[in-house]
């Protein structure tokens, strides 16, 4: 038994190493050539482990002020969205659940834009708060539309999510266009397709505690999430307070999605696909699935964003376009697979 436990840590340790390696290597890639070794030195120096600078100040500025915060935020957004997807798939017992498909991301974007235009709240926290409420309201609407009796049909839920998401996206576009002040609300593309351009360390400081805290909450609920496989009544017979669990997890997902969308816009498909990929690696036990989903999502979005900012240099592709190009075919594959299973 201890042997299997030790083996259970191997994918997590490997994943962490892969995330760290990806951050360093991806931050070296870009128009000005910087070696990964330089990135590593800057990182180590900034953390306070080495006293002396050994790279040019301009290189340090590019890496530390521009690339590293962006790569680290990509990791946090990717990890957070993947966990939100895995949790929503378990709670709604729907393999197609994901913050983007079920309209939470679009709701969050709308909430953020409304706060920006009305100018309520304090700075980024106000925007994040508005996005959180937007995500929560959107999800409540989706469930309200999809639920019949006490059952939640998988396909109807996705349709309701698309309906709510489309309305939210349309309202977001409308508000941004009417306001006509891209400095105040950011561009429509940012909200609808997502972008990590212009990320600063202060964005990372907002995202990191939220994502880590929400991840911790989800991991604490992992055993109970396993027990929900056979439905609510059965989970209750196994001692799980399902009503409370559902509230905790859905609010956690909405919080995570809201804060991340307020920083990076609505990026699709990460929450849908990475949990499925993680299941192929570590199986369906949420105690292992959630950490691995987080790590896989982080690595995936780091490289998706690297492709987004470098593929058509000097132009940037919105990162959501990259995730959709990879994600939509995989989504189609999932639908085919599910049809066979039914």
């Amino acid at each position: 038994m201890t042997a299997t436990h030790r083996r259970a840590w191997v994918p997590v340790a490997l994943g962490l190493a892969l995330v760290l390696g990806s951050i360093v290597v991806a931050s070296a890639i870009g128009p000005s050539s910087v070696g990964p070794a330089d990135v590593w030195m800057i990182l180590v120096h900034k953390i306070g482990l080495t006293p002396h600078e050994r790279v040019a100040p301009i290189v340090e500025a590019i890496v530390w002020d521009l690339r590293l915060p962006r790569t680290v935020l990509a990791a946090l957004v990717g990890g957070g969205l993947a966990v939100a997807g895995a949790v929503m798939q378990a709670v709604t017992r729907n393999p197609l659940a994901d913050p983007y498909l079920l309209g939470l991301s679009s709701g969050a974007a709308l909430g953020a834009v409304v706060v920006l235009v009305l100018g309520i709240g304090v700075g980024s926290l106000g925007v994040a708060g508005g996005a959180f409420i937007g995500a929560l309201v959107a999800f409540a609407l989706v469930i309200g539309l999809a639920v019949s009796g006490r059952r939640l049909d998988a396909a109807v839920t996705v349709l309701a999510g698309v309906a709510v998401g489309t309305i939210c996206s349309a309202l977001t576009s409308l508000i941004v266009v009417v306001e006509a002040n891209p400095f105040k609300t950011r561009e429509v593309d940012f909200w609808l397709l997502g972008s990590l351009a212009g990320t600063t360390w202060s964005d990372v400081l907002i995202a990191a505690p939220v994502v880590l805290a929400c991840l911790a909450v989800c991991v604490l609920c992992a055993r109970s999430m396993n027990a929900m496989a056979f439905g609510d009544a059965d989970a209750r017979a196994l001692g799980v307070d399902t009503a409370r669990l559902r509230w905790i997890l859905l609010v956690t997902c909405a919080l995570m999605t809201g804060v991340l969308v307020s920083l990076s816009g609505a990026i699709g498909f990460v929450g849908l696909l990475l949990p499925h990929a993680a299941r192929l690696i570590v199986g369906r036990d949420h105690r292992r699935l959630l950490p691995i989903s987080a790590l896989a999502g982080a690595v995936f979005l780091i490289w998706a964003d690297t492709a987004a900012r470098t593929a058509l240099q000097p132009r940037e592709i919105p990162v959501g376009v990259v995730t959709a190009l990879v994600g939509a075919p995989a989504f189609a594959f999932l639908i085919r697979r599910r049809r066979r299973a039914l």
């Binding site: 209750r236 196994l238 001692g239």
Partner: protein
Amino acid sequence: MLVATAIEWSTGGALILDGAGVRADPGRVVGLIGPNGSGKTSLLRCAAALTAPDEGEVTLDGADLHAMRRRAVARRLAFVEQDADTEVELELREVVLLGRTPHRGALEPDTAEDLALVADALERTGLTGRERQPWHTLSGGERQRARIARALVQRPEVLLLDEPTNHLDIAHQLELLELVRSLDLATVAALHDLNLAAAFCDEIVVLAEGRVVATGTPSSVLTPELIGSVYDVQATVGEHPLTGTPTITFTPRARGRGRRRGDRAASAGGQ
């Protein structure tokens, strides 16, 4: 000792339980019988504190079960739902291991004890060697035995079973009820098969239209009169040549005679 008393419960405007009750004592197997829609499942669900009754109370060793935390209930009481199913692609051993949920903290790993309990439960239910088989590839009977195995892993004092012999062939029906008997738990099992109820239960509780209409040993309860009035069938009760328990056989009866409830009692009484 689990005691459910004077349970009333209605749903969708229909009164399902109308003062029914049941009592489970350690080491005894109680058979809950009655026609479809008589409230067997509802009574079990109320007794498991999964459904809150409108009236009446359920106590476990004197404590109000509905006031206890779910986790505390699940450590002492296992409920085997009829046809509980999943679309999650789980392996058999993962399903059975879920029975340890109420006993382990959020971050506690599965212990050697947990795995030993799973192995033991799989052996007792005849599922050894299928640990890694995916749930959706198991037959109906295997799934039913897996549900029982999961309940065993829960290590309950009280075991509530809703139609545990559903989907099982006769050999597995007998095997499963023998297993249930050997567990020495306070057991209540809703059963359709009157002969199985007669052979394996210490006590029979008969439900009809949400009320308990008879309680007692199989031979005192399972009379042609009672079976006739509750199920509206003509039954002959004999004695098992080897075990001495009641055996029930049925005779087809012409339709349209004694169909209404009022007539039923009269015709049963007149036979």
